[in-house]
Amino acid sequence: MLVLEKRPEPSALWRWLAPILAVVLTLVAGGVMFAILGKDPLAAIRMIFWDPLFNETFAAYARPQLLVKAAPLILIALGLSFGFRANIWNIGAEGQYIMGALAAAGVALALYPLDAWWLFPLMIVAGALGGFLWAMIPAFLRTRFGTNEILVSLMLVYVAEAFQAAMALGPMRNPEGHGFPGSRNLQDYPAAHNAELVAGTGMHWGVVTALLAVVIGHIVLNRHLFGFQVRLTGQAPKAARFAGVDADRLVVICLGISGALAGLAGMFEISGPSGQVSIDFNIGYGFTAIIVAFLGRLHPIGILLAGLLMALSYIGGELAQFGLGVPAAAIKALQGMLLFFLLGVDVFTNYRLRWQPGRAG
């Protein structure tokens, strides 16, 4: 019979083959899903993964969107990846994203209509701080009381969503908005607007920050003591303790980094592409980033590529929604499937199949 045998070392080949295979399997399963929905599977997949980049009619709109959508995903996923490596599970990035956005928008709206060069930098600080502080709640509870950070960080997403609604309907509501919910649009507020840096590319300060974060993340993970401690804690918690890694400190730093980066992502989003504090300006980047982090193998370069791919699925999903009537939810299901397949295929990174004759199960 076929048995799984543990590899002495995780396979380097499968580490990177697994995500590719998972994407292929997702395309096949997605095709089946589209066929069940009564859509032409090939046309749907082509429209989601090919047309945004290479179709002449769509590319002009879609290519810049790629950077716009990938930047928050990469920023958040990069932050999460450090914690995930060390078995610190911050799954409330969505909440930290919201709080970062609200903190930044709050600063801008409180100073409206200020015209000063330092407003935008101040918003960046506020955004990072908002996400950071929100992540410090699970960090404090875990280090002080040993409370499970998974449940706390997740619960705080719902609290943040309620807080966001309260802000959109209350203190941050646009006084000139004729009673409609939602704040002033920061896109019409020059000093606070996260505008495109080069017209028609989608490049904004968030994209720059995300790329910078990838480079710094790469250096920290591979060349810095902190990166070593993270990797050590993930692979051998006991050895890490003997090596003098302060577990509590690691929890605080990992949650802090992921919170601050998620808050930054929220800041760049609220001041640019989304523009307005509304009841539902968050669209789940914080959760999709979890998929991005795993698909990118918790590795900065991998996350960069995975973020671009996930952004593509968002944009292509929109195209397919209008072009073929593929429901938006189908894209969410597709993204969920991808993580499933990845986790399943990943067995071959640590195990190999062996044929063992004559063994009873």
Partner: protein, 310 residues
């Protein structure tokens, strides 16, 4: 604001209803965790159950069939989790998250043609004689069959885990899977059964939200109930009867804040609706602060992968 509009008896009666979904999902997850598996996908299985149950109930006109379909839907999703974590040895935390993300997407996909529809009415049991008891009648004996099923399952699981041989085997596997394997117990088989059982109950709990509590279908309508159910298991220190108590407590908070909203308290609704989540966090923090008691109560093999090398 008119607090006298809140009738404490009606409040208690609706508390029983509000507690049912998390009690069902929680007791299922408790069995799963007792077998040493941490399935964080409760939310995904609940929302899948919610839409499967809703769709089948609407199509057939029978809520009973709907609940069956919900249990089946939750179980299928749980089976997927089982295959990944038990046979393909994937990380349980990550796989549970995947289950939730996938369940949310899948349910939204199935549910798009069911938005704005009313499901068939699910009758109350109205137990004769008992329902006419002065106070208890309204609070305890005028509910639908699922409320009693949930309570029955809590007692059943309590008996199974504490008083039956099979329950002892399940707990042994949860405490030390290597030792249990060496004794000849089928670790994977028992865990798969537990996982599927947990999925079915999460599905039931989800359908109770979409068919009875709300009752209609909206995207993401479980709104964290699955996560609260997970917290409930920790709250209960993995003890079934205490889980029922916790479910009533959380049900009570939910009902109370809804009633305060309706009574027009001067606090914006958004802040009131935070309360069940904040309460969960506070309770978790309080429990874990008692010098690591919670950690001691947890099954020793919880969340650890099992691979029999011989």
């Amino acid at each position: 604001m008119d607090l006298s509009a809140i009738d404490p008896l009606v409040l208690l009666a609706s508390l029983m209803v509000a507690a049912t979904p998390i009690m069902l999902a929680g007791i299922g997850e408790l069995v799963v965790e007792k077998s040493g598996v941490l399935n964080l996908g409760v939310e995904g299985m609940m929302i899948t159950g919610a839409i499967c149950g809703f769709a089948v109930a609407v199509e057939t006109g029978s809520p009973a069939l709907g609940f069956l379909a919900a249990a089946a839907g939750g179980a299928v999703l749980a089976l997927l989790f089982g295959i990944l974590t038990q046979f393909l040895l994937s990380n349980q935390v990550a796989t549970g998250l995947a289950l939730t993300l996938f369940g949310l997407g899948l349910s939204a996909l199935i549910g798009q043609s069911y938005i704005g529809i009313k499901p068939p009415h699910f009758d109350q049991l109205d137990i004769p004689l008992l329902k006419d008891l002065p106070v208890l009648g309204l609070v305890l004996f005028r509910h639908d069959v699922i409320v009693y099923l949930a309570l029955g399952l809590v007692v059943g699981v309590w008996w199974f885990l504490g008083r039956s041989r099979a329950g002892l085997v399940l707990r042994a596997i949860g405490e030390n899977h290597d030792a249990a394997h060496a004794l000849g117990y089928k670790v994977m088989r028992v865990r798969m059964l537990a996982i599927v059982f947990g999925g079915a109950l999460a599905g039931l709990g989800g359908a109770y939200i979409s068919l009875v509590r709300v009752p209609q279908w909206t995207e993401g309508m479980t709104a964290g109930a699955g996560w609260i159910a997970l917290a409930l298991v920790v709250f209960a220190s993995w003890r079934p009867l205490r889980l029922a108590l916790g479910a009533w407590l959380f049900g009570g908070i939910t009902v109370l804040q809804l009633n305060l909203q309706a009574a027009g308290v001067a606090i914006p609704i958004q802040y009131l609706s935070m309360s069940p989540y904040i309460a969960t966090i506070l309770v978790l923090a309080f429990l874990s602060s008692r010098s690591g008691r919670a950690a001691l109560d947890a099954p020793a093999s919880l969340g650890k992968p099992f691979h029999a090398s011989s």
